[in-house]
Symmetry: C2
Subunit: 425 residues, 2 copies
Amino acid sequence: MTADSAAEPLARLAAERVDHRFKGLPPDADGLTVGELAAQRRNLFTGGFTTPVLALSAERLEHNLKLMEVYADRHGLAFAPHGKTSMAPQLFHRQIEHGAWGITLAVPHQVRVARAFGIRRVFLANELVDPAALRWVAAELDSDPEFRFVCYVDSVRGVELMDAALRGTSRPVDVVVELAAGEGARTGVRTEAECAAVADAVAGTRTLRLAGVAGYEGEVPRADPERVAAWLRRLVALAVDFDKAGRFDGLDEIVVSAGGSAWFDAVADVFADIPELSLPVLRLLRSGAYVSHDDGHYRKLTPFNRVPEEGALEPAFRLWTQVVSRPTAGQAFVNAGKRDAAYDLDLPFAQVVRRDGAERPADGVSVTALSDQHAWLRTTPEADLEVGDWVGLGLSHPCTSFDKWPLIPVAEADGAVVDYVRTYF
Amino acid sequence: MTADSAAEPLARLAAERVDHRFKGLPPDADGLTVGELAAQRRNLFTGGFTTPVLALSAERLEHNLKLMEVYADRHGLAFAPHGKTSMAPQLFHRQIEHGAWGITLAVPHQVRVARAFGIRRVFLANELVDPAALRWVAAELDSDPEFRFVCYVDSVRGVELMDAALRGTSRPVDVVVELAAGEGARTGVRTEAECAAVADAVAGTRTLRLAGVAGYEGEVPRADPERVAAWLRRLVALAVDFDKAGRFDGLDEIVVSAGGSAWFDAVADVFADIPELSLPVLRLLRSGAYVSHDDGHYRKLTPFNRVPEEGALEPAFRLWTQVVSRPTAGQAFVNAGKRDAAYDLDLPFAQVVRRDGAERPADGVSVTALSDQHAWLRTTPEADLEVGDWVGLGLSHPCTSFDKWPLIPVAEADGAVVDYVRTYF
């Protein structure tokens, strides 16, 4: 459910003026509010939008939101989708309307965005040792009894720094010990013995409360289903050991959390076998990329490839660009580059060409490089491509696609733009 | 000089409220205006800023602005620095105050930003065939007699599309024929014969006016000083031929433009030898990266390495991050990643470590990878690095550094933040 405290900031988004801040929008819409422009249901291709313009598919977005709601529900998982992917409060609230427990975030700035839009439960998948940010979190906890905040700890020193910054605040901050995904992996405590030492340090403070354990299986070295499951079983065993040791006494529930976008099937399987503990367990899944999905990296990695009977995510982004140069038979250039398209995991994929209202597959057209403001296309003799054509590009990596667009048109299949998603990066 | 029409929008920037839109700013500054926060001169390290936070050096920024003013002046070059680099109207106006003729841009959205802030002269270094954007440009030209707009043409079809979109508008749009930097290079007409055909097409319209020739020497294949100079001489020869053919009759001046951030010494040399034409020549240099310069790509490429007697640019960015995890003796993680730092040309460089107010070189610390929200650091035994330390990172590539930060603190050498630069991407 959307919290009441979210209604007003979400309404303010609809009341924002369309202007130079938002690339791709129709110049003749300047001065309209975003809500007024959405109500016009302008067509993405004929309504005055300028290229490059990134569009989200309304139907695919809704499909993905629903699919992960059903998935989490079927597997008895609570869901805190990683909000760093979109940093879009409107999508945070749609995720919560679709059953999400709360929103996962990575850095305090992102928590501030979520709080500005009334998000009640935040899982910060990072250790937080910045005194200014910790004091802000403490003030938020003090001012809103319904605000639930959980973050990682992965070192005794981190616990000490947190404790020092939080002295004198009233509500303790809930923390989960982060178990690293292996040697050489990203953040997180390497061994169970060190995990116990960090938990001891937490127990020695009045400012922190040990709420559970967590980690990120996406960083398991040389990941395969067996290695990922083995690590997830280590995480569960850590929760069991901590519980047996009485470390969770006094809580209402124990948090056990994992799950990016590549292995949530393994998380579902292993978390289904969490033995009965002394308290209810919040099995918290944190996958974020599903919301838009993609045409590259996550299309290949998604667990739905292994469990097709549970459904399939649909890539919801298409970046519309225009051919501005066709200097030779083998080359073309469109007017979108690193400023507009994700390029960290794969280059964009030329999918379709539009000319005079007709759309066809981009046969013989491929993206070979990105400049800041251009994409380099290679064309084979079969390619029918002219200056002025629109080229629709598929993208790889939702996180670095969303972050290049402060306001993203959401278009229905017929091209009608029915909504605009605001992002904060 | 800053145009009068810029005073009001620039004042509006100072009146913007500090809030969740702007990462890195002090949480306790929420609700202040940007101008009020600047007036407080808060210290970057003790004033409540949260990591990660990108900072610009006030002194280095001013040094770079001044150096290129002097450079362009010394070499008789008009200067239209590429605004795509910063997309910061405040910097556009400082560039103009430092003698710039106008601002170069890449796509129509960027022109809209410039126009919203009263920029009078825009060089669009791209062909523009989008009818909605062209109609907007025509309306701007109609409504402001002082608006000077020049853009590329590189194909007969491009000319036809522009002409079709501009029919019925009053002022013709000035265009320059773009000569490609060579076979396999980026946009631009490949041969002089094709350039003449494009110029013929322009002459056949009433909506376009041929204003000169231009190109981008940064894409010369296997660039070295000789090849770059040879291409620049081709560009000058094209201007001479067009002039002899009477193609510029009726103009006040002839535009000859080139110059990115890697070869402006060659541009200065070759443009100094432009022979006398039938009209004055606007020798227009477009380098943009100089404004912040960098610690990587442009540090290596800058022409000042070849002409040290003319000065040296200074890297003006430093990204401040915090160590959130130190899981092993050889690994550490800071809380900034692809969302915060340029990563397309080089990874960031660990420069300094701050602990308890003392700053020292980041000996033994190097960045080996970026996740979305983390940087992976490798540390040797000499590295003294703990959870909580701030690590200052140098960056490579100004364009993809600016574009990750909507509001960038400008700090003096003592840490006092005296201004905030707003960007629009």
